[in-house]
Symmetry: C2
Subunit: 320 residues, 2 copies
Amino acid sequence: MSPQESHSLGELGEFGLIASITADLADDPRVPVGPGDDGAVVRIDGDLVVSTDTVVEGVHFRNDWSLPHEVGQRAVAAAVADLIAMGARPVAMVVAFSAPADLPASWAKQCTQGMKLEAAKSGIALVGGDVTSGPAVTVAVTVLGDLAGHPPILRDGARPGDVVALRGRVGWSAAGLRVLSRGFRSPRVLVEAYKVPEVVYSAGGEARSGGATALIDISDGLLADLGHIADASGVRVNVDRAAFTLPDPLQAVSAAIGVDPWTFILTGGEDHAFAGTFSSPDRVPEGWLVIGEVLAGEPSVTVDGTAWEGASGWDHFHRS
Amino acid sequence: MSPQESHSLGELGEFGLIASITADLADDPRVPVGPGDDGAVVRIDGDLVVSTDTVVEGVHFRNDWSLPHEVGQRAVAAAVADLIAMGARPVAMVVAFSAPADLPASWAKQCTQGMKLEAAKSGIALVGGDVTSGPAVTVAVTVLGDLAGHPPILRDGARPGDVVALRGRVGWSAAGLRVLSRGFRSPRVLVEAYKVPEVVYSAGGEARSGGATALIDISDGLLADLGHIADASGVRVNVDRAAFTLPDPLQAVSAAIGVDPWTFILTGGEDHAFAGTFSSPDRVPEGWLVIGEVLAGEPSVTVDGTAWEGASGWDHFHRS
């Protein structure tokens, strides 16, 4: 370990970390004033979309499972996914970073490098933040996007007769977490999916081009999040399991640990795939998988026409 | 204690707390889509200003010193002060709330009531948030303001010949903290100033009307924050102690504990007063106190023409 790497966050200091984070930020015409003043100034086209998302050490990640840059990537990916799910274009983000003073400074720097790496994938700019001490690493990412004159794509627009389509993977992150919890490190693709979700940042634009009537980020689990569309739109949503091909690594893990693979697919959260509803199958964009239909009826989600037994999602204070 | 008050945050649940927070939000024409979707939609006039601020249990507040609504008020006040210091109009805020599952639900609810109480003072709307579990109560508030076609008021515009003026109190919060640290509860005005800073939310508009050349929120301490103006503007800032009247409670505490009252005035943080520079004394708005002048020279801050000995501010990892 080099002398620099042995520094603690306490030795580096609040202003030292901020300087290290902001040192290599590129000029951005959408950010007339970047970090360094009381606030950043951001140029917005049309209405603004804002969302915030937190990851906490020991709750959302473990230092023995995730590298610091993975923690940073994941925090940003989860937050930006919410902008995408509103049909917004990512513009700028601020980060509230809290950590013990004895955290290695290199950890904090690598975490912020991961944030910037993930941010670059969607074109969102880091424009500011706050660094404080606290008992556990806590990273709260607030993201700002703009709508460029378009209306947002909400959860309440699904109508009976719409089809339900999915963009991205589901169940991979939950299966990866299960693998790690059992003390294993493979299948590697699942573990990687848990550590850094692979967010399809183009999904918002795709959904808009297909005239999506509703759109949501799948963070709690497919059924739980479709339930939010069902509730907001006042419709029943049915998922057809026949639409899915069970991915090999999910099948392998399910067989090895004796878990129904559908538990991962239907209730696993944190992959940050997107579920949208479209007025007809021919409006579903390329790359999206039709997985069900919107029906009239009491707000609910069914699987192959019937209620799904068992846990449907995740509540941060009810570990279900 | 009523049955309801005996609930823990874990029993109330993430969605229960969110529902309780968002239940009584008023309709706001600037917020076309409030909480409940993947993000909130906010109508912005001109460029956007964004800033984020965190308070952590055991670092920024202690539960035996502050009531939950005071913690909420303080978190919002500190964050909104940054918007004011940019000359922005407060519009919307999001809150990332992290707490142990055994926190009383009433604590969380009262904290958010305090946030809304303080928010109403400046007209900022709570539009969303994230609730997660974590080892210590951590509240990260991100605030959004707009500039309505005006340029922001930055730190880099102070010019030799400008006067330096102050809006609000300095030293009260630090003195209040010292009182509490010694196990006392009075003078009450100082303790109150520590628990909930009294932010002059009109200061941004006042500063703009006076053509402020630079403006800053005093969160680290008067000398430390004037140092930020000096560095950004490439000027020397001098503070004249003769401009101040030492407030009685500060004098009383200083005498009682044997501390130079100027330590509080010049280096005490977290009152969230505002320091601005103006091109001439007759442009200084009503309610502002002229406390010094801007001079040519190496960026620095002097007191009565000479360097101030001792600590000048606060670094979250270097407790100076």
